[in-house]
Symmetry: C2
Subunit: 639 residues, 2 copies
Amino acid sequence: MSLLDILLGRRLANREYETRKLGVLEGVPAMGLDGLGSSAYGPEAALTVLMPLGAGSLDYIGWVMAPILVLLAILFASYWQTIRAYPSNGGAYVVAKENMGRDAGLLAAGALMIDYVLNVAVGISAGVAALVSLLPGLHPYILPLCLGILALLTLLNLRGTIEAGWFLALPTYGFIACFAIVLALGVYRAMLSGGNPAAIVPPAALPQAGVAFGLWLVLRAFAAGCTAMTGVEAVSNSMSAFRDPPVVHGHRTLAAIVAILAVLLAGIAYLTAVYRIGALDQTQDGYRSVLAQLFGAVLGQGVWYQLSLGCVICVLVFSANTSFVGFPRLCRMVAEDGFLPKPFAMAGRRLVFSVGILYLAGAAGLLLLVFSGITDRLIPLFAIGAFLTFTLSQTGMVMHWRRTEGARLNFWINTIGAAATGAALLVIVVAKFGEGAWITILIIPCVIALLKSIQHYYRELQAQLRPPEPLKIERSEPPVVLVATEDWNRLTEQALRLALALSPDVIAIHLSHLSGPEAVEHDDGLRRRWADEVEAPTAAAGLVPPRLLLLPAQYRAMHEPVLKLVQELQPRFEGRRIAVLIPEIVKQRWYQHFLHARRARHLRAQLLRHGGTRLTVISVPWYLDAVQTGLEDPAPPAR
Amino acid sequence: MSLLDILLGRRLANREYETRKLGVLEGVPAMGLDGLGSSAYGPEAALTVLMPLGAGSLDYIGWVMAPILVLLAILFASYWQTIRAYPSNGGAYVVAKENMGRDAGLLAAGALMIDYVLNVAVGISAGVAALVSLLPGLHPYILPLCLGILALLTLLNLRGTIEAGWFLALPTYGFIACFAIVLALGVYRAMLSGGNPAAIVPPAALPQAGVAFGLWLVLRAFAAGCTAMTGVEAVSNSMSAFRDPPVVHGHRTLAAIVAILAVLLAGIAYLTAVYRIGALDQTQDGYRSVLAQLFGAVLGQGVWYQLSLGCVICVLVFSANTSFVGFPRLCRMVAEDGFLPKPFAMAGRRLVFSVGILYLAGAAGLLLLVFSGITDRLIPLFAIGAFLTFTLSQTGMVMHWRRTEGARLNFWINTIGAAATGAALLVIVVAKFGEGAWITILIIPCVIALLKSIQHYYRELQAQLRPPEPLKIERSEPPVVLVATEDWNRLTEQALRLALALSPDVIAIHLSHLSGPEAVEHDDGLRRRWADEVEAPTAAAGLVPPRLLLLPAQYRAMHEPVLKLVQELQPRFEGRRIAVLIPEIVKQRWYQHFLHARRARHLRAQLLRHGGTRLTVISVPWYLDAVQTGLEDPAPPAR
């Protein structure tokens, strides 16, 4: 059992693909944590903007949260339709590309990619920040904690999306259960007390209003609260992960995520208002998050309080998983269209797109390293990508329905969606431009340019490779074969036999002073043995005896004398290929890598790199031990 | 200009070898720093052992240093002879091997290798310790300083031994000049004052004797002081580095090193006695080394004092260079006899044995890392290797002269040398056994066992490769050729033409679902085009049309379906080789490594690894850009 088997599990066959797909039960933890986790910071972000209003902020939280809930409902309806219209993959990239052309698709893809990377870095570091504020002893370990969680998520998703879903099921459903209890208890007590429940642990007292209410303040609070909606698009981006019938499983998963998120947001908005809980200044001592105050007010400070906060932290920490599900699948589609390198579209040993997972982990890890695990400053860069994607996807769907007969209702739902998300995007851009949103606006065109230049490369490649016409048959002569020899031994003998079977023109070459000016050479002995043991019997058999050429290697580089010889031979063998036959001892054991000089490998690489199209390299393997064909892998049990 | 060119300098041709050799001027800094530097710690080590005698220790320092000087003279005489007898290489390994057999040679080689590695680690860390005691602000940077100096020495020696010699000339000759001034001034004042000079800065007062004088104490002091002699063997080990005539340059270098060392040792012994300078306890506050006290007594504490101490520190820090000259050349000889991997005997781009240099740096770096740059505990492991080598080399020379007519004097010189160094070795082993010398005694057999097992591997290899008889010519049929195809394009066309030139039996193989279960396949289109564009024209030309086989790649590993096909084909083509022809796009630019999936490379490696002797792999390169032959390198100016 290799290390990879232990870390990632056994290799999976293509025919096992169906068994790797997700239902609703795994889908919600795998894709929903981004959406659900945002309930922990969306309302708080809105309340933080309203802080200058002091106690008055609570009179307006309803005015901020209500449009957010309406927008969420519109998004839900539009993505419901998108999933039905694009059951195999309804991601913003595909919808925008198919309905609005290549550039719109690339815009959506670029925005989504940046969004996914930021989500991983911000999600993990926000979760770790919450953890550290609960357990201050962990403060020196912020960066290692962030990187450790990133590594865990990477490994989980390399094992498979379904494994990640199973692993995350416990924290996800625990979070939902705890939150349900808090909301039910809080609402029940609020009802009993006629809207003025007594907090078990009283929340922090709120100051008097510092500024007057204004529209701009509410708009900014709305923009901040909109972060609660990121993650809703995840299901449509990851449709290929669902079991048959994908539309049913996709719809159910989307519905579950949105319904739970809506209940959480509405409940939080209601309870903060009745319990009089406002946002506190994070930079001040004694800061407690809105959720912590809310849980304290409803549950006191016992075991349940700790457990509920623990669940929230878990969900925050693992909210990055949504990106790990969506990013590789997005990259795969973009790569299939030629805008990303081909390896992004190749399924790895566990039938997930490992290259995408590793790039995502690498990019997010770099961000965490650069910012030492504290990514607050990245948050303003964040919501733009999501809302740009929302808007493009909705607009694409509007185009889609316009061309579809009898889809009036669908058309209007998506039109409202597009208008609403577009307006929200505008508010977010204006509100957050100075805080860093301009960076996102700057990076997106760069990403698009990169994607386009990649496609340009592949197009050039295709143009060069396309055969103009059917195969032309020329009775071509066999190539001139050069056999690289170190000595007259069985390796050389085997290679020479093959060379004589391939071509009547065989030249053996031996490089001298390859180890340096003082190398001990047995050139004369080799010449004599060559005459006796090779040339004589070949001539006796009526064949042209292969000559032995001794080439001095002035710079101890093997390929240079060979290339020089090839240049000299080419006019003599006009129109014929030249093949260099390299006998190679196959290294079957680890210690052999220390004992051999890798000369065969090096010569082959250099000849291929510098040899030109008329040169061919033939590798003849030699084995010291029995050969492991590698075919003994047990066939996987068919499920 | 590549990075390697900047770091190491341009490539050197074999014919430039003579210009790379050393004279006396570069030889003394390159090889002598170990010997000269030991004057800084040898006398101090002896005085430290004598410390319990208090002020009385100074009455006995002469009794300890005199035999050391005699031993040095004997060593000088014997190595003088060794150099003349083995002018190409007079290292202990060669002398012991040629005169006392393989095992004695390996014992010398093992002891020397350990000694060289220890010398690098101990030398650098001792130098840095002296530097830090002068500039305590550097204390937090001990390990980075050690590793930085190690890196500098590694780079210098990779550039060439002669470059290292030039770089080290300034500190070496500065050290000698400073020391000469101190000794001359001190001796002059001592003469003037009738043997009782007044110290400018008085040395620390010495306590009364704690114990009585004893033979065992003097023997231990002698053993400790013998560390002053390590490094004397370096010249004989590095004879291949000298310019013609090597014996003359070797003799002069050896004479220069030993003469300077002897003057330094004698001078230090005399001046410590007349100035009443004893060793202080290093663990106590206010510790000053013997040399620092001596320099203070003679020079005061002005600029000259600082400069002289600085030179001593430089020499200590760079004393590791002796190992960098000797170790790679020793390993080269051992590797040529098959006891070390072949790459140790291959000259690198600058005509030095780079592999040995890198291994030495790696091993010493590991020791520095493990001990965090403080290697005091390694010092007792140290002198054994050197004196074991001395004794073996002397004994070998005794054998050598016994067989030589008219070499009576030579015989007796080496016999006395062997007896003296053997006796010193015995004293050192007994005196230092408990302090860690047992570790060396334990490691040496392990190293010898490793060397022998390496030779065993090469012998087995030779036995397997040796051809039993002259080449047997069988009119063998050409191989069956399998052409790996991704699509019908010019890459495939080129490969197919070559295949048809090589063999009448050509099968094209195309792997399906290589990117995963959902890969978009154009199998039917490929089949149709194959029939039209390949099979039809081939048949029309009267050749057997190459079939196209579609192989499903269940596990997305290319080699497995191909190996399975080869297994199926083998009974049908009894006795014939099977060649797999792989077209390969040569990556000429760095970004292409990201854009291609390395499938050709991977398939070739796996087929060679698992294919068995009947399988051959043919690589056909395809270039997108013009080919760089790599032959345009300017010819180096002949000097």
